[in-house]
């Protein structure tokens, strides 16, 4: 088919294979339709209409012999039509040129057919009008066969291009999504860095300054300053830190293991915490080092989800985080001993999380924990 301008990025191999596919379609459709017509019209002429061409040559009029001659002539005609279609590459030209090319090729094929008919003596040599009327019927039929061939080839080619464009758009969309996510991570990281580094340090220095001032004033004022300072410290350590790590988990740049440990370290002291990193920890750390930020983040978000479910809804008193690795994947389990998850619970958070895991080639499932509560089990591919 005509190369659409919409797909200029296709490689020469793809273009060549498209051309071959189109030519194949054209060959098959024209060959098959033409072949069927060739045989059907011969049969019709000899058996139904009772034409006896051989009679004109003064031989025994046997229908079988006559039929064979007519079929052979028609099949040669079809073959020539196919060869012309492929040689002229009609299906690759502009549709506006199709009628002329088709008419010319059909005329040429039926001309050849007429010559063969004369040679075989299908009609009396003197009866030129018989040859001409047969030839004009043949031109129409061959043109019709070409038209069917062109229509089918065009339809298949369009379908192929549409599918390719759909795939290309899907790939572009997923690329765009990935780069958006990366950009988001970069911005989050930089804001978290600012909060955690610069802002925190300013707070510390201001606190020290306040303490200095408190020493140089009278006792009641000093007490008030100390109170303000304590509040500033509280603000810095709790709020600022929580804000920073919700934007970008602590220690994520160093790995999933340090980030998960940092997360578990923040669990309130009233909750029992078991952190079980499979031995040897070196193997786990080596696998961790192969994970990109997106996969690390996915693992940390699973633990965060498990933790927030356990604390918010599950009335858990103990949580456990287990991490293991094999050649193919890093597996994380987060279990609690709370109430578990109702089977009909609306788990939109979980669905979002599962999407996130799927996005990095991982899995997520929710099960009942041996401890009695919920068990989140996630994997991400290693390497």
């Amino acid at each position: 088919m005509r190369r659409p301008a919409a797909a200029p990025e296709e490689s020469a191999e793809v273009l060549a294979s498209d051309r071959a596919a189109d030519a194949r379609t054209m060959l098959i459709v024209v060959g098959l339709a033409g072949g069927v017509l060739a045989i059907a019209t011969s049969v019709q002429a000899v058996l139904v209409l009772g034409a006896h061409s051989v009679a004109y040559r003064g031989m025994d009029p046997t229908p079988i012999g006559d039929l064979a001659v007519r079929i052979a002539i028609n099949l040669i005609t079809v073959l020539s039509a196919v060869l012309m279609a492929l040689h002229l590459r009609i299906h690759e030209r502009r549709p506006a040129a199709w009628p002329w090319l088709v008419a010319a090729a059909a005329a040429a094929a039926s001309g050849l057919r007429g010559l063969l008919q004369v040679a075989a003596g299908v009609y009396p040599v003197a009866d030129a009008s018989a040859y001409l009327s047969d030839a004009s019927v043949a031109v129409v039929m061959i043109s019709a066969v070409y038209a069917v061939g062109l229509a089918v080839t065009e339809a298949l080619s369009n379908a192929r291009l549409a599918e390719r464009r759909r795939l290309m758009h899907a790939a572009q969309a997923s690329d765009a999504l990935a780069s958006l996510q990366q950009e988001e991570l970069r911005v989050r990281r930089s804001i978290a860095e600012q909060l955690h580094g610069t802002l925190q340090n300013r707070f510390v220095l201001l606190g020290a300054e306040l303490s200095d001032i408190a020493r140089s004033v009278d006792a009641p004022a000093s007490r008030r300053i100390d109170t303000v300072r304590a509040e500033l410290d509280e603000l810095r350590e709790r709020e600022l830190r929580a804000l920073s790590s919700s934007l970008y988990p602590e220690q994520l740049d160093r790995g999933a293991l340090p980030a998960l440990r940092a997360l578990m370290a923040r669990v309130p002291a009233s909750i029992g915490v078991e952190v079980d990193f499979a031995e040897p920890v070196e193997a786990l750390a080596a696998a961790d080092a192969t994970l990109d930020i997106a996969r690390r983040l996915a693992l940390v978000r699973v633990a965060e989800e498990g933790l927030s479910n356990a604390l918010r809804h599950g009335n858990a008193t103990n949580v456990a985080l287990r991490l293991a690795v094999d050649d193919e994947q890093v597996a994380l389990e987060f279990a609690d001993d709370g109430e578990g998850v109702a089977p009909d619970a609306q788990l939109s958070g979980l669905a979002r999380l599962r999407d996130r895991l799927r996005g990095v080639g991982g899995t997520l499932e929710l099960a009942a924990a041996p401890e009695g509560g919920a068990l989140l089990r996630a994997t991400v591919p290693a390497g």
Binding site: D233, R236, V281
Partner: protein, 215 residues
Amino acid sequence: MNPVRVAIVEDQPLYRQMLQSLLQTVPGFAVAAAAGSVAEADELIDPGALDVALLDLHLPDGNGLDVGRALQRQNPSLGVMLLSSDDHMHVLLDLPESQHQRWSYLSKTSSLSAQALVAAVRATAQGRSVLDRSLVERRNARANGRLAALSSRQQQILALLAEGLTNAAIAERLDLAHRSVENHVNAVYAALGLTGSAEHNPRVRAVRMFLAESR
């Protein structure tokens, strides 16, 4: 006596200068290098000519823990002191077993007090691990853990071990006889399951348990 040679890696210029001038004014200390980033540290610091590395935990191009690990691999007798604005002491749990010793952790607030800073750097140079007193005191044993099972006296003793105090210093701090402190310390080890013959350094292990099971 040779001075304690210290390198400082801290990205905030004001902070770095304060640490530098604090240590330079104290007799017996020498600031060998002061850097503002991991890259600068790689360039300026010679771990072989150093006793203690004073490292901000959060650096613009990396992490004090990783810098300290690399320096200590090159000089195993190097002490590392991490500085942070608050309690990220759990990062010490990421250290591999070969690097469990000679790691201290000081909050930036404490580091601004010359007394606390100098005492901690000196102890670290001597091969001990010092965790910030104010951070340790604010920690509580986590529910359902081994720490929670200790008596309050034992928890107090363990906290002092975490602060890097020797038995003698603990005896002084709690106004107890040296012998009695030893008994308490051994009881803590026993309660934490650290009395087997395989335990080469129960003190180090006990402090790591303290970090893992308190908040």
